[in-house]
């Protein structure tokens, strides 16, 4: 039975300069109990379609044609208060950004009940409590969660609260916009399972917006692929993966990294001579405490790690948010002094480097950050970001020399210097910016690049290109890379060694073939089993992880250089 029937929906944005056709002639249907995936790159019109159905488009965006029927109701034709009445009751929307979808200053209970109150539902205190308890139980949360504030919940719990809220009035259609972005694989699987469970209970139709084809394979019955505001393919999930009709669908499916087939690579190892390039000995970090601070928290338990300039490697650091990955990166970049232990650069304690030595350290250890949109100063042309370090860290003698180094670095990451240089950051795509960031680091001829989630904000189709850029750093330029991520599949693809962190501790280290294909530690096993496979026939195991077992001692596989 078709619940939602969208016909020829078009949305235009009337900007001062031109009319942008954000959604063009979109027709789709969602049946009761069906799960439809809406995939495509950023800017393809997925979220705009959802907002149009919710009638939440902000000016200058406007629905210019089409209809969207749920039963007798045409969402596009609604006017005034009827629009508000349809939200939550007929169609629910869970926006992107699970971390911030709840107001930080109101208790969960109030945010669950105010929607009911504004739909004219009067409840006694006891009835209200029963409704809230029920809704929370429906997403597998304890009743006590209602009395908490959002900051007291984990990202996965917040998203489950949002699902509970969206389900409170048993809507016909639920749209979940990137419901698991910013969540680690374990929470991601829980959230998707919660969505399925809740949907089964109320029998609604569901639209899941996303760009991760692995997740889509596991979470949907049918997939609609969008590109430039149009639907390019609409097929059952199984058929789409087996035989994609449109080239773009095929490209999306191929861009998902999988386990089992790793590109072979030359070992090219030479014995290390002299002092290691970087050496961490028993390095740990504790935040807080002290005279005026509050409670102290150990962000990173003592860890040993060494990187040799003669033996470049790609080391992947994986773990959930809060596992200490970023703390480790900040210590290695010299941005954060370790609380305990020794951090040496070419045999010398980093805290005691002289000024010229420190400049050399800064030049030889480079960073690439998560958000390519925030990595550039929007007021300067991108050349500025590339030239400054070249000129100030003594990597280039003259401006001409610096310019040549900059252009060579652009070519090394596969960008045409003529196309990208001399432009402002907002004129370039996220992928181009992130590759420019790699070029910036590369131009300085560093020995180590620390990349913190370098592809998590880049469209799926560009991810592998950027990761291959990182691999090339090691193979062609003999640069070591510390690749920080929560995505095990990409870690498996690009690294020579994987380090798994949990709650600030090292739990497993070793070659990716061992750590990810044959994990020994219970936590690593939980992570690996939670990876969504881009194969609808391969089931996501539905077992609840046994968290107690994650506290077992660290497993250091043969050949690992990192010690907890």
């Amino acid at each position: 039975m078709t619940l939602l029937q969208v016909s020829n929906l078009s949305v235009d944005f009337f900007t001062t300069r031109q009319i942008v056709h954000a959604v063009r002639d979109v027709s789709l249907a969602v049946a009761a109990g069906e799960r439809v995936g809406l995939v495509g790159e950023s800017g393809s019109g997925k979220t705009t379609t959802a907002l149009a159905l919710m009638r939440m488009l902000k000016p200058p965006g406007r629905i210019v044609a089409g209809s969207a029927r749920i039963g007798d109701l045409d969402l596009v034709g609604l006017k005034g208060p009827a629009i508000r009445a349809a939200r939550l009751k007929t169609i629910s929307y869970i926006p992107q950004g699970a971390m911030n979808s709840l107001s930080p200053v109101l208790r969960v209970r109030e945010q669950m009940l105010d929607g009911l109150a504004d739909h004219g539902i009067r409840l006694s205190a006891r009835e209200a409590k029963a409704r809230v308890d029920d809704a929370l139980a429906g997403v597998g949360l304890a009743a006590s969660v209602a009395d908490l504030f959002p900051h007291q919940l984990s990202g996965g719990m917040k998203q489950r609260v949002c699902i509970a809220i969206a389900m409170m009035l048993d809507p016909k259609i639920i749209i979940a916009d990137e419901p698991t972005s910013a969540l680690d694989v374990i929470s991601q699987r829980q959230v998707i399972q919660t969505l399925h469970m809740a949907q089964k209970r109320i029998g609604c139709g569901m639209v899941i917006i996303g760009h991760d084809m692995g997740l889509m394979a596991q979470a949907t019955d049918r997939i609609i692929v969008m590109k430039d505001g149009r639907i390019v393919e609409d097929a059952p999930t199984r058929r789409l993966f087996a035989a994609p009709q449109h080239a773009y669908s095929a490209e999306l499916i191929e861009s998902v990294p999988t386990l089992g087939s790793r590109p072979s690579r030359p070992s090219g190892e030479r014995p290390a001579a002299g002092a290691p390039f970087l050496e961490l000995t028993g390095v740990s970090k504790t935040f807080g405490g002290g005279l005026l601070g509050g409670d102290s928290k150990q962000a990173l338990a003592p860890i040993d790690l060494r990187i040799d300039a003669e033996r470049p490697r790609v080391i992947a650091v994986v773990g959930q948010s809060g596992s200490g990955k970023t703390t480790l990166a900040r210590i290695m970049l010299g941005l954060e002094p370790p609380s305990e232990g020794q951090f040496r650069y070419r045999g010398q304690d980093v805290s005691q480097l002289s000024v010229p030595e420190r400049a050399r350290f800064r030049r030889e250890v480079q960073a690439i950050f998560q958000d390519p949109y925030a990595s550039f100063n929007p007021f300067y042309r991108v050349d500025h970001a590339l030239l400054m370090p070249l000129l100030h860290l003594g990597a280039a003698g003259s401006r001409t020399e610096a310019r040549e180094a900059m252009e060579a670095a652009c070519r090394d990451v596969g960008l045409n210097p003529r196309e990208v240089l001399g432009r402002f950051p907002h004129e370039l795509s996220g992928g181009q910016r992130q590759r420019l960031m790699i070029a910036r680091a590369l131009a300085l001829k560093p020995r180590l690049i620390v990349a913190d989630e370098p592809v998590s904000m880049v469209d799926a189709s560009l991810r592998m290109t950027i990761l291959n850029n990182l691999r090339a750093l090691r193979q062609e330029h003999a640069i070591s890379v510390v690749y920080i991520t929560h995505d095990l599949a990409t870690a498996y693809q690009v690294s020579d060694e994987v380090i798994v962190l949990y709650d600030g501790r090292l739990v497993e280290a070793g070659a990716p073939e061992r750590v990810i294909e044959k994990p020994q530690h219970a936590y690593t096993r939980a992570l690996v089993s939670a990876i969504p496979w881009p194969d609808p026939d391969r089931n996501w195991p539905l077992v609840e992880p046994d968290r107690a077992s994650w506290n077992q001692p660290a497993v250091v596989q043969p050949g690992a250089t990192c010690l907890g």
Partner: protein, 332 residues
């Protein structure tokens, strides 16, 4: 929690002590002798023999303890401050500084606290509305006018108000805290008189500061509208009024409250010029007189009271803020 409050109170004491210490040493860097200043002034007006000034100033120096070594003076000063004993005024000798401050403080606090809270309330509401209804015709006219007024210093605004409403129209008295012939007392008539006198100074401060609050709130409101929780709240089908107050304003208010706390610290200093323009009998006028004549005890007393007000209002905000923002609560 108690440990936290205890720690905050220790901080307040430390801040007040540090400020009091600076307060003691800074005026002493100025190469002026307050007693000689006062005597010279007297010599001009009432015919004291200028040649005797040296001698007299030494006698007075001994009287006020200014001939002691600096450290002795400092220790005695700290002890006195702790007991709120600021000694006697040099310029209004033998009046006690604590009495002078006691007389002036209620005028300043009454005027400034009322106007500040009122300006905060009006400005915040206005700014919230301006940030929310960005297409409103009315607000697009009102907002710029208010912004322009906020750019005019309030003493200048005060002069304009005096000219129009006191001098030309005669609706309000020109200056003072109460009529020249009345004596302060607890009566209806006197209260009306005080209100009449306070209207123009209050109005000048109000008009000039509403815009500042409005600008801050407008910016925050626009930021908050871009937050994910606003999108979700809208998707829940909430009423516009609930979106505006409970979700929008409630979140946008947090930085405003911090700003208010900081602003309270400047209340008295901010009042100085207004009090001068309107000859208002407050702390600002008293401070200005004392600085002009290097009346150390009065300056110390006032600055000490100011420091204490700032530190206490910060303490108050520190303790109240967690009620507004659950994220600032300690532990769970």
């Amino acid at each position: 929690m108690l440990v936290l409050i205890g720690r905050r109170i220790v901080m307040v004491v430390a801040v007040v002590w540090a400020a009091a210490t600076l307060n003691f040493f800074i005026p002493r860097i100025a190469p002026k002798n307050p007693i000689a200043e006062k005597l010279t002034q007297l010599a001009g007006t009432s015919g004291v023999d200028p040649t005797k000034i040296q001698e007299m100033s030494q006698a007075f120096g001994a009287r006020f303890g200014l001939d002691q070594p600096l450290l002795t003076q400092y220790l005695r000063y700290i002890g006195d401050m702790a007991r709120f004993d600021f000694g006697q005024s040099i310029t209004k000798y033998p009046a006690r500084v604590s009495d002078l401050i006691g007389e002036a403080l209620p005028w300043t606090l009454g005027l400034m606290i009322t106007t500040t809270l009122l300006a905060f309330l009006i400005g915040t509401l206005l700014g919230a509305a301006a940030g929310w209804y960005r297409n409103s015709k009315l607000l697009s006219v009102v907002s710029p006018i208010i912004m322009v007024f906020s750019a005019i210093p309030f003493y200048l605004l005060g002069l304009v108000l005096i000219y129009i409403f006191a001098s030309r129209l005669g609706w309000f008295p020109v200056s003072g805290g109460y009529g020249l012939t009345s004596v302060p007392e607890w009566s209806w008539d006197f209260a009306v008189e005080v209100l009449q006198h306070a209207t123009l100074p209050a109005l000048s401060i109000l008009i000039a500061s509403v815009g500042t609050w409005a600008i801050g709130m407008r910016g925050m409101m626009v930021t908050v509208q871009g937050e994910d929780y606003m999108t979700f709240a809208e998707a829940k089908g909430l009423k516009p009024s609930r979106l505006f107050y409970r979700y929008g304003m409630r979140n946008a208010l947090l930085p405003q409250v911090t700003a208010l706390a900081l602003y309270f610290g400047q209340i008295v200093t901010g009042a100085v010029l207004v009090e001068i323009v309107f000859a208002y009998p407050g702390l600002g006028s008293l401070l200005l007189d004392s600085i002009k004549l290097f009346d150390f005890p009065t300056i110390y007393g006032i600055v000490f009271i100011l420091t204490l007000t700032v530190a206490l209002s910060m303490l108050l905000v520190d303790l109240l803020y967690p009620l507004l923002d659950p994220r600032a609560r300690v532990g769970r």
